[in-house]
Subunit: 489 residues, 2 copies
Amino acid sequence: MRAQNLTLLTDLYELTMMQGYFKNPTDQIVVFDAFYRKNPCGGAYAISVGLEQVIEYVRDLHFSPDDIDYLRSLHLFEDDFLEYLRGFHFTGDIYAIPEGTVVFPREPIIKVIAPVMEAQLLETAILNMINHQSLIATKASRVVYAARGDGIMEFGLRRAQGPDAGIYGARAAMIGGCIGTSNVLTGQMFNVPVSGTHAHSWIMSFPDEYTAFKTYAHLYPNACILLVDTYDVLKSGIPNAIRVFKEMRDAGMNLTGYGIRIDSGDLAYLSKKAYEMLEAAGFGDAIISASSDLDEYLIDSLKVQGAKINSWGVGTNLITSGDWPAFGGVYKMAAIRNKGDSEFIPKIKLSENTEKVTNPGNKTIYRIYDRKSGKIRADLICLADEVFDESKDMILFDPISTWKKTKLKGGTYTLRELLVPVFLRGGCVYNSPSVMEIREICTKEKATLWDESRRLVNPQEVYVDLSDRLYQMKTKLLEDMSRKAMRHE
Amino acid sequence: MRAQNLTLLTDLYELTMMQGYFKNPTDQIVVFDAFYRKNPCGGAYAISVGLEQVIEYVRDLHFSPDDIDYLRSLHLFEDDFLEYLRGFHFTGDIYAIPEGTVVFPREPIIKVIAPVMEAQLLETAILNMINHQSLIATKASRVVYAARGDGIMEFGLRRAQGPDAGIYGARAAMIGGCIGTSNVLTGQMFNVPVSGTHAHSWIMSFPDEYTAFKTYAHLYPNACILLVDTYDVLKSGIPNAIRVFKEMRDAGMNLTGYGIRIDSGDLAYLSKKAYEMLEAAGFGDAIISASSDLDEYLIDSLKVQGAKINSWGVGTNLITSGDWPAFGGVYKMAAIRNKGDSEFIPKIKLSENTEKVTNPGNKTIYRIYDRKSGKIRADLICLADEVFDESKDMILFDPISTWKKTKLKGGTYTLRELLVPVFLRGGCVYNSPSVMEIREICTKEKATLWDESRRLVNPQEVYVDLSDRLYQMKTKLLEDMSRKAMRHE
């Protein structure tokens, strides 16, 4: 049935490599960085989400007797290695950027420092969880931005890529700024608001639309949103809804949280006409909610068209991030230290594509804020032991076009280290905030972006620079490799 | 932690509607159809997958004390309804098209006949599971088609939309025709082949590439696929791989299942050069495997370019169905019967868009095969009690352009009813085949499609027609509704 132990949620090669390290023992402690290269949906930022699930996964890592039996059946693994797995648990350190934080390409969102076998095993599950939830939170943030203050409901469970995609996708969508989800299980697991009213089938199971509406209104007088497009929005749905609202008003009921939902057709036209009819009947304050294959671009367009919609249900395109369904995060080795040594040896992965060359070394990230406005000036990736002084001038340079320089005057900026310890020596030292708390954090985080970096189309990229020391280290490694390669030719 | 009971994996409105039906009791038995409207990725077919998970879900449906407490905390549900939920289990009938079957738009893949409260609750989870797995199986089938007989490995777990998307996505990809997956948990749960070798990090953790290769070859001499693009494919990776293969050969080892993997760069050029170098060294039979953001179009193009690749690892674009990430299946009420009555009253959902008008009534589907070739002539959606005689002539007509008619001569075609009973009176009457058995079924199913309907771009649609009786019923319902609407104007 449903898997409870996720230890085998990994690519086989993590295990074959682990056995390789086991059979060729070293005392190597390695640094792996999980980071992404391209902002989703053509935006200029992403939101880091999924850490709570990574923590649960790492805490629970263990190979059950069934897991060992299964691995033995593959005829790839030897008894001594399987015996080692039987006692396996994570003993390393993990640093991470807290959930809800705005992040940018090439920044380590999670950094694992551990014996190579342990660090290697974690790769697949960490990427799976961070990639999924960061993607959906980022998409949600875009959709919320397009709605200009209107509430966005997450409605996509039925179109999600499996149960977890619905459950954790709704979690991520809440963090990204949605005001509620239709997903009851997510509501139960993460204590977030759930909502929903009725479907077309409700209407169809009654002899007529009016009776269906009236029955619903009696049941849920304080959350009476009537779906008006089963037969004909303007000829049938709205007139019947108005008739029911009038009866409620005439009965002396206090109409709150009432209104209509339109789920098909030309939402701009229908919402304007619906508003006119409702307003003329004295129901100008009714909620007019819309759903129907919406995304950030359609919502933006409907806003521009003056659609009279003040509540939005977004399904498929949010829960799958329809136009950009993968975050593309990777997990790359950055440094190695032999046990006993104090220094890490930086490691680099080459690529034809300059942007794909990894950043070597044991690193951290400082976010540089404008002291006055609190907005982000730039992020600085540096080595973990570097120290900066906010009172001093700082010179930033573009890591590709290095002649592009910016000088920050001492006292005009503040620094914040983004990576915080999550596991130390295998023990968890971090308490995840609740989802609604992370949502609050995320709202504040988004406010640290300049408007130019939030817009939907062609936004201004945020600078992610390298410290001088890291840049020099990277350049030297690249030159060494190039020299080695030339000798081979 | 990880949810085990999926009963609350539902949209809130299913529960608010359920309470509505509970408070306004009827003895209605309803028919709901789960179907989709548009073939994924511009293709001409889909593969129906996910039924085994639906069966597990329905069997396990129960509201735990925690679930009841949670629902009570929402202040939406009354005690008598919550008490009813406490004893809830499914008592109805479910019919389905077996997993691995080729299906077409508007065909009920799953049909639920049950008391309205029960049928309503199932909607969200059924759609979630069928939508996800049918999507990925269909995508896999396209990728496999493009590879023209080469094996496709599913490699996407790290980019899947959460753990389940990886687990069940790999299950679906196997059914769609992949020969293996990197996902160990899917291997364990569904007894399907897993495979994988090593990552760039393996190479980087050794002093040099040659040592890394040699160490790996000693460990896995019978599955020695070396990743050659960590530093430079042609200058370093291939020469080092050849050196190791030579050493293995010189040591008298029997080289089987050995070769290289290229994970970046121009795969056409690199694979041809790699083949030349391997062949010149006497390793012309080496596996040349490729991965790197592949999809069906890239594989097709590489085939056309004569790339010397004979094994393919496909990740992100398969596991997320990158260019078409949602199947779009819906669940619509089709008929109602009052308990005691024998006849169903057909129900229809209107839409501005003719194709979106639902098919009313308690229906089934017959697949019409060409007797000689075994290929599909057309599918016929009809009422559940209709009977056809293969020895008689049959006239088919397009349900929108009704003047388009085809006459099938008696004796030249065979019929097969696609929907089979899965639950009867709440009891499961169906045994799911194993995943590898379903994969076999699917291979045979794909062979029933004409080549014209399998091609990747602009394929020929397969006809899905309505029986005369169903067509007449639908037309009459539409005319009745139109007459009613005109009276209101």
